[in-house]
C-alpha cells in the first residue's frame, strides 16, 4: 500500500488540510492581536479576552447557549437512540418509509425552511418564543444526527450477544440495558457530542425560534459580525473552538483507552 501512496496523494492531502485548517488557525492567531484591526498584526495581547469577560450581553448569551445545548443534546440522544433502534430493529411496520424519511430529511433540509416551519408551529399552538422553543427546535434537528450515528453502530452490532442473553433467560429490556447499551455506548456518546456542538453552533433555526431574553451566542456573534469584524469576536470564537477541541480530544482518548482495554480483555480471554 505504501508504494502506491504517491507524491500526488500526499500533496493533495497536505493542501486539503491546509485549506481546512488555515482559516481557523489565522482566526485564533489574530484573537491575540494587540491592534484593533483584525488583519494587521500589532503585537501579542490578551486584552480582548479580558474585555470579553466584561461584556455582559455576550456572557448572558453564552449561558443561554450552554443550557440549551446540554438539555437539547440529552433529550435528542434519547430520542435519536430510540429512532436508531426503530430503523434497525423494526424493519416492518406501517409508515416505516415515512419514518426514515423524517429521520433523514432534516439532515439536508435548508435551515431556513426548518426554522420557519418550527416557528409557525410554535405560533399556531400558542407557545411563547424563548428558551423552551429554541430547545424544542434543537432537539428535533439534532435527534436525527444522533439517530444516524447510533444506527451505523447498531448495523454492525453482533446480534448473537443479545440472543445468548435471552437464551439464558434475560428479558429483552434487561438485555438491552446490560448488553446492547454498553456496546453501543461510544456511538451514543459521540451522538451526544455531535448534538451538543450542532446546538451550540446553530444560528438560523435559533434566530427563527428564539424570542426576547433567549439570545444565543451565535445570534450575538452574528449581530456583531454584521457591524464589523472585531478582535473581540475572534477571542469569543477561539474560546468556543478550544472548548469543542478539548471535548473532542478527551472523548477520543477515552475511546482509545476503552479500545485498548477491550483488546487486552480479548487476549486474556484467548489465553485463559
Amino acid at each position: 500500500m505504501n508504494a502506491t501512496w504517491s507524491r500526488f496523494n500526499i500533496t493533495s492531502i497536505v493542501l486539503g488540510f491546509a485549506f481546512l485548517y488555515l482559516p481557523i488557525v489565522l482566526l485564533v492567531v489574530f484573537s491575540f492581536n494587540e491592534s484593533k484591526l483584525v488583519t494587521v498584526w500589532g503585537g501579542f495581547s490578551t486584552k480582548w479576552y479580558v474585555s470579553l469577560f466584561h461584556n455582559q450581553g455576550l456572557m448572558d448569551a453564552t449561558w443561554v447557549t450552554a443550557r440549551v445545548a446540554v438539555i437539547s443534546a440529552t433529550v435528542a440522544t434519547v430520542l435519536g437512540t430510540l429512532a436508531a433502534l426503530t430503523l434497525t430493529r423494526y424493519t416492518r411496520f406501517k409508515g416505516r418509509t415515512l419514518f426514515s424519511g423524517m429521520v433523514f430529511a432534516p439532515l439536508v433540509m435548508p435551515e431556513v425552511i426548518t426554522g420557519l416551519s418550527l416557528l409557525l408551529l410554535f405560533v399556531a399552538v400558542g407557545l411563547d418564543r424563548g428558551f423552551v422553543t429554541v430547545t424544542l427546535a434543537h432537539i428535533t434537528l439534532t435527534m436525527c444526527f444522533v439517530a444516524v450515528v447510533v444506527q451505523s453502530r447498531l448495523i454492525t452490532f453482533d446480534r448473537s450477544l443479545e440472543e445468548a442473553a435471552m437464551d439464558l433467560g434475560a428479558p429483552p429490556v434487561k438485555t438491552f440495558f446490560q448488553i446492547t447499551l454498553p456496546v453501543i455506548m461510544p456511538a451514543i456518546v459521540s451522538g451526544w457530542m455531535l448534538a451538543f456542538t450542532l446546538s451550540l453552533d446553530d444560528l438560523v433555526i435559533a434566530s427563527f425560534t428564539s424570542g426576547p431574553g433567549a439570545t444565543t451566542l451565535p445570534m450575538k456573534i452574528y449581530s456583531q459580525v454584521r457591524l464589523g469584524v472585531t478582535p473581540e469576536i475572534n477571542a469569543a470564537c477561539t474560546i468556543l473552538i478550544a472548548v469543542v477541541a478539548v471535548g473532542v480530544i478527551i472523548a477520543s482518548l477515552a475511546n482509545k483507552r476503552r479500545e485498548v482495554q477491550r483488546q487486552r480483555d480479548e487476549q486474556a480471554a484467548q489465553r485463559g
Binding site: 500526488f8 482566526l27 483584525v38 423524517m102 428535533t140
Partner: protein
C-alpha cells in the same frame, strides 16, 4: 403423586404461563413505545410544521400578531371553516412568479449550489483518494482531521474567511507582498466568495462519503489494468470513478441540497449584491415581516428540493442495506 401435588404443579405452571404472557404484553408495549416516541415527535415537530407553512402561505399579510390573516381553523365551527376555505388565495404564489427578483433568486441559488457542488467534488476527490490510499495506520488520524473542522462552529468558519478575503485582508496582503498582483482583488461580496465559502464549509460532507466508498475498493483491479497496459488516466475513469459513484452521489447530494437554501454564507460573504433564496426568505421574514410570502418562498424551495431529498433518502437506505 397425590392429587393435591398435581393441582399445585398445574397451578404453578399456569401462573408461570400467565406471567410470561403478561411479560410478553409488556415487551410488546415497550417495542411499540420505542417506535412511537420518536415517530410522534417527528410527526409533530417536523411534518405538521410543513402543513402549517403551506397553510400560512395561502393567507394574507395583516398588521396583527401574528402578522397574517387567520386561515383554516375550527374556531368558528364547521361553517366558519368552509367560509375560510373560500378566503384562501394563491396571491402569494402569483406574486412570486411575477416578481423577477424571486425567480432570479431561485435560479441563481440552484446554479450557485450546482457550481459549488462540482467545485467541492473536484477539491474533495483527491483528498479522499489520498486518504484511502494512505497507510492503514494513518487512516484513522486523517479521518479524524477531516471531521474535526466539522465540530467547530459553522458560523465561525465562515466568519474567518471575511478577514482573509477582504480587500485589505490577508490574502490580498500576501499576494501584494509577493508581487503577484498590484491591485487588491475584490473577492468579498461577490459570488466567488460564496463559492469559496460553500466549498470550504461543506468539504467534509463530500470527503467522508467519497472516502468510505474509495476505501472499500479493491486496488488490485488497478494493478491488473496496469499490467494489461491500461494507462493510469483511463484506468481511473474505467475503474476507480465508477466504483466510487455511490460516494460521489451521496457527497454531491449532501452538499447540493443544503447549499441551495444556504443563508449564512451568502449573507456574510456574498454581501448585498448577491442574490440567493435563503437570504430572500430571511429578509422577507425578518426585515419585511411578511410571513405569508416567506412561507410561500419556503414551499416552492421545498418543492424544488423534494426530488434530491428523496434521492438522498433512497441512497441512505441502500447504503444501510449493504452494510447489513
Amino acid at each position: 403423586m397425590s392429587n393435591a401435588a398435581v393441582t399445585a404443579a398445574t397451578s404453578s405452571r399456569a401462573t408461570a404461563a400467565g406471567k410470561s404472557a403478561l411479560a410478553r404484553l409488556g415487551e410488546a408495549f415497550v417495542g411499540r413505545l420505542v417506535i412511537l416516541i420518536p415517530y410522534l415527535w417527528l410527526v409533530f415537530f417536523f411534518l405538521i410544521p410543513f402543513v402549517i407553512v403551506f397553510k400560512i402561505s395561502l393567507s394574507q399579510t395583516a398588521i396583527a400578531i401574528p402578522p397574517y390573516t387567520p386561515v383554516l381553523g375550527f374556531g368558528d365551527g364547521l361553517a366558519g371553516f368552509f367560509a375560510q376555505l373560500k378566503e384562501l388565495s394563491i396571491d402569494n404564489y402569483t406574486w412570486l412568479t411575477q416578481d423577477a427578483l424571486y425567480v432570479n433568486a431561485y435560479v441563481t441559488s440552484v446554479i450557485v449550489a450546482a457550481i459549488s457542488t462540482v467545485l467541492t467534488l473536484l477539491v474533495g476527490y483527491p483528498i479522499a483518494y489520498g486518504m484511502a490510499r494512505a497507510p492503514a495506520m494513518l487512516r484513522p488520524t486523517l479521518l479524524m482531521l477531516v471531521i474535526l473542522p466539522f465540530w467547530t462552529s459553522f458560523l465561525i468558519r465562515v466568519y474567518a474567511w471575511i478577514g482573509i478575503l477582504k480587500p485589505e485582508g490577508l490574502l490580498n496582503q500576501l499576494l501584494l507582498a509577493t508581487g503577484i498582483i498590484s491591485q487588491p482583488l475584490i473577492i468579498l461580496n461577490t459570488y466567488t466568495a460564496i463559492f469559496i465559502g460553500i466549498v470550504y464549509s461543506y468539504l467534509p460532507f463530500m470527503v467522508l462519503p467519497l472516502y468510505s466508498s474509495l476505501e472499500k475498493m479493491d486496488y488490485s483491479l488497478i494493478e491488473a489494468a496496469k499490467d494489461l497496459g491500461c494507462p493510469p488516466t483511463s484506468a481511473f475513469w474505467k475503474i476507480t470513478f465508477p466504483l466510487s459513484l455511490p460516494g460521489v452521489i451521496a457527497g454531491c447530494l449532501l452538499v447540493f441540497i443544503p447549499a441551495v437554501g444556504e443563508f449564512v454564507i451568502p449573507d456574510l460573504l456574498g454581501g448585498s449584491q448577491t442574490l440567493m433564496i435563503g437570504k430572500t426568505l430571511w429578509n422577507e421574514f425578518f426585515a419585511n415581516r411578511d410571513w405569508p410570502v416567506s412561507s410561500a418562498v419556503a414551499v416552492i424551495l421545498l418543492l424544488l428540493l423534494i426530488v434530491p431529498i428523496m434521492l438522498f433518502q433512497r441512497a441512505q437506505a441502500r447504503a444501510q442495506e449493504q452494510d447489513r
